[in-house]
Symmetry: C2
Subunit: 259 residues, 2 copies
């Protein structure tokens, strides 16, 4: 008799296209003891009557699925966010295997999120910027695009069999990463102050590149909640001295790294 591991991750479908596939995902989830389904901007709305038949009895997962207007909202309570993708595009990210990702999630005291992209494109750069790591399912280099529900099934299988995986890689005394809403708050605070100080280069694409880098440098380290709070204090006190009134006017002379 299989024993299902405790504290399963949320399964987050980002902009899923076909209701049939959402239902098939629900079935695969329940097959492996995963029940927390979250949908970000499902193309055809929600509920979707096409999901029911392919769920094949996993009605409880369908009925408790939650819809979010943005990926940031969907992962707000999660402390570890892992995106499934075949490549990391042009960003620096930790790449992990299903077994190693599961070991990491199972060692995590908080809630983990496993992200799956739209059927046609998979997760795009903007999605992956919010991820601590990329999980790549080993597959045929010449035919690597998995069906959405089959990818969920593979991760579900890895979840249930995770007790044989290598040990997790958290540092000693590392309590695990902060919840995403804390991290998002830090990044937003930094970005706001930078904008106030004319940090961002208005040339086409430059601002976007700089914002991506911001996300990258704050997301990749996996800061703890205490570290995020500390960094918010650091940022606040870079802007103005402790106890000082907020400055209404931006300081002159800010330079952008992509000038």
């Amino acid at each position: 008799m299989t024993t299902l591991p405790p504290n399963p991750p949320a399964i987050i479908l980002v902009r899923p296209q076909l209701g049939m596939n959402i239902g098939a995902v629900a079935r695969a989830m329940l097959n492996f003891g995963l029940t927390d389904l979250r949908l970000v901007q499902p193309r055809d709305g929600w509920p979707n009557p096409e999901a029911g038949p392919s769920a094949a009895g996993a009605d409880s997962v369908i009925e408790s699925a939650r819809v979010f207007g943005s990926l940031a909202d969907a992962i707000a309570d999660c402390t570890l966010t892992i995106g499934t993708a075949q490549t990391t595009r042009d960003m620096v990210r930790r790449v992990t295997s299903p077994a190693a990702a599961v070991a990491e999630m199972q060692a995590l005291p908080g809630k983990a999120a496993l992200l799956f992209g739209p059927e046609r494109t998979g997760l795009v750069r903007e999605d992956l910027l919010l991820c601590h790591a990329i999980c790549t399912i080993p597959s045929n280099p010449d035919f690597g695009s998995l069906n959405l529900a089959q990818a969920v099934a593979v991760l579900g299988y890895a979840w249930v069999t995770g007790d044989t995986a290598p040990p997790p890689t958290w540092l000693v005394n590392h309590e695990g990463p902060a919840a995403q809403h804390e991290l998002a708050g830090l990044i937003a605070a930094v970005a706001t102050q930078l904008a106030t100080n004319s940090f961002f280069n208005p040339a086409p694409g430059k601002t976007e590149t700089a914002r991506s880098m911001l996300h990258n440098v704050f997301t990749r380290p996996g800061f703890t909640g205490a570290e995020v709070q500390f960094l918010r204090g650091v940022v606040r006190h870079l802007v103005r001295p402790r106890g000082a009134e907020r400055h209404a006017a931006p300081a002159a002379g800010g330079t952008s790294p992509d000038d």
Copy 2:
């Protein structure tokens, strides 16, 4: 870059029902470097136009799929046959995990077969009688029925990641089991002679039970080709002395184990 293991097993769908699922299986197979698809009595015939769309580009697998009139024919050239099932019903069989099954297949010099049953019922007793082992995918005890293509995807994933599995369990100097057609020949020869000798009890169900036991006792040990040839000689010489003419009339006094 993932390296695909050599000598992949045949994927055998026994009495598959939906063309869409056969296509989805083909896609999952090619995702993990499996290309030898065999269909036993597909319900809606073959080729099936519903398989194409869900194959999503795995046309080569669809086009090279072979159809067989019986499971025995489909596994005739295979030396190790593993059936996927959640339970072993009421027979004695080795039960293995996906990782262990893969390790066994990867250590095998001959061809292995992985069997998947019909969507509605899974493999039935008569199918499992032809298997050396049962592979059970660990899953939710309360919701354990996997979609056909998702089950194939899980085994495919296990196939590609098999290098981390525990070592195989073949005995020293064991060259691997005989091809199924050799084993089937032995069982048929024994059964024919037993029938000639009125071994089988004609009461309802008794003959069937005895034939099942025959399959069981000859299949489970994983006899090598040489052993099967040896046993054919044993059977032949139990019936009549070396060099003697075949007896036309059955010997009297045969007793059935289920009398």
